[in-house]
Symmetry: C2
Subunit: 332 residues, 2 copies
DNA sequence: TTGAAAGCGCTAACAC
DNA sequence: GTGTTAGCGCTTTCAA
């Protein structure tokens, strides 16, 4: 049985021109009810599916949205992607995914590859990209939304939070609470530039207040609860005098909390713990973790909405701050 | 300042034919070193990016791979997608995403929409799809891989585990340990057909062994640790005599464990707990949770590999069992 | 409100 | 090894 039916087949069957079928399929205006129903019947009968490759080629606008994030293994990005896709699919657009695995070279290759699909827009995590990447993005002449971080100059639009301010807020919180010997634990070898920014801002703030960071441990491995547990153990072994720990994310922090529970370390009296992100499961722990709540699904949704409304403006160098909130709870 | 350069521009600049440029860009065979370098220089100079919409239209094979899963908010799918993309991106293929939100109608629309991109293959979660969906998939004449579940008849290839056998294994485990009053907790209103299959197989096995399920609680909400905690509290309230609980997933089970910790319920002596999936964080809990370990990233990788190798066979009705393992640990 | 012509950018099929 | 020709399936003009 024949291959996939085309517009031509539908046109022949319904006795109208191809362009009329095209208009019906796209819900273009100025189509009589009669013609529409005739065409729809024929399309139905043939099981016609439009070929978006052809449509996109001709119209120079595919409706694909490229999404470039580091990894789905990091708890924050699935939520972002969920938010993006929720908005896009309502609008008949599709998400094409690229996962960089925190590798800048790979990001560049992915961007090049994604642009070859003539996407109608692109969403990227972070503000740091290679020169070549930036050049490609500028030339592509499509809306570019950079999410997560707003501490820097966006190519077009940045939507997220100030990672630096969030870190400084946590520093202030710990100092307000009277902690003096503060340590920091990170993961991924600090490949995500946002972690690095946060740590630097955190250290900077502590120093400004005359209480410099007392210890630091950056594991090269992927972040996980188990890793947090191991790192917590190690940093306390190396620097027993610590009275507070700030973790690069909640997974690590929960690991720290579990370490303390297992070893009878009283939280927060002997050791205070703070995380970052506000992942669902921190609420469920025996002690509610102090953390910074970030609006991850909002970031995805806002980025997608921005792309959808973008038929007007060009590159706008706009920054949208979605804000964070410091949840001061049981562990500090 | 022209728009995006085309093959023609590169051909003109390098003084060769368009088709030669095309061959160079695709690394086709039979190209002299000299011609290749000349073309590459020109492409470089112009910042040429191929237009895959055009290429795909002509060659009838886009290289896009459609991936249809319920949601990224469910811990299991991000890992699957990570596995898929890891393999695909190596092979120069792209993931186009569709999230069904556990809605069959939406799945059907998504499949229709994704097929309009002429994907080279499609990966779907689960074996249950609407008649219309199955028809479209059959007509599309592309490799179809259904992942997660192998209890049923695949359209083409199924890769995953037997959800039923896994549930029966857990039933046997709990019975072996001597538990008699066993309860079950689920979420999502059991929209994921795999949960339902598991529960039914679990109940069936318990009944076969003369120890029917003592209580059951299916929450309509999205699964989460907090929900597990609440459900555990409720089911114990309704049926205090329970001596074991099987949860639809690890999130719920961890919630149950936290409830027990908070209320001084001794695990497993007063109450045994078992989860499903083998999510990373269960290892980190104060007590290691008994669970069924499922090979989620393997499922993604295997599905992607299957699509890549698929230039030979047609629809094969093949089933690939990746197996699970029951991790009998502290909580049973 | 409908249609005819032209061509988006690329590659398969066939020369040479 | 390289080039010529034709056309993938659709939509943008422009005309009626």
């Amino acid at each position: 049985m024949s291959s996939r039916p085309t517009l031509r087949d539908v046109a022949r069957l319904s006795g109208v021109s191809e362009i009329s079928v095209s208009r019906v399929m796209r819900n273009a205006p100025n189509i009589s009810v009669k013609l529409r129903s005739r065409v729809e019947a024929a399309a139905q009968e043939l099981g016609y599916t439009p070929n978006r490759l052809a449509g996109g080629l001709k119209s120079q606008t595919s409706g694909l949205i490229a999404v470039v994030v580091p990894s789905m293994s990091n708890n924050v990005f699935p939520e972002v992607v969920d938010g993006i896709d929720r908005i896009l699919s309502q609008a008949g657009r599709r998400t094409v995914l690229g996962l960089t695995q925190y590798d800048g070279d790979r990001e560049e290759r992915i961007i090049r590859d994604l642009l070859s699909w003539s996407p109608s827009g692109i969403i990227l995590a972070g503000l740091e990209h290679s020169d070549a990447s930036c050049k490609m993005l500028a030339q592509a002449d499509i809306p570019v939304v950079e999410i997560m971080d707003i501490d820097g100059t966006p190519i077009d639009t940045a939507i997220g939070i100030s990672q630096r301010n969030a870190a400084r807020a946590m520093a202030d919180h710990l100092l307000d609470r009277g902690y003096q010997r503060i340590g920091y634990i990170g993961a991924w070898g600090e490949a995500p530039s946002r972690s690095l920014k946060r740590r630097l801002a955190f250290e900077e703030r502590l120093s400004e207040c005359g209480t410099p960071l007392a210890a630091r441990l950056i594991a090269p491995d992927a972040s996980s609860i188990s890793l947090g547990r191991a790192c917590c153990s190690q940093i306390l072994n190396d620097t027993p005098s610590l009275d507070a720990l700030f973790f690069a994310n909640d997974d690590l922090a929960v690991g720290g909390l579990l370490h303390c529970m297992a070893h009878g370390i009283e939280v927060p009296h002997q050791l205070a713990l703070a995380g970052f992100n506000g992942i669902d499961f921190v609420d469920a722990m025996p002690q509610q973790l102090t953390t910074i709540q970030t609006p991850r699904d909002k970031m995805g949704e806002a980025a997608a909405l921005r792309l959808l409304e973008h038929h007007d403006t060009g590159a706008s160098h706009q920054t949208i701050d979605l804000g964070f909130s410091l949840l001061a709870r049981d562990t500090t």
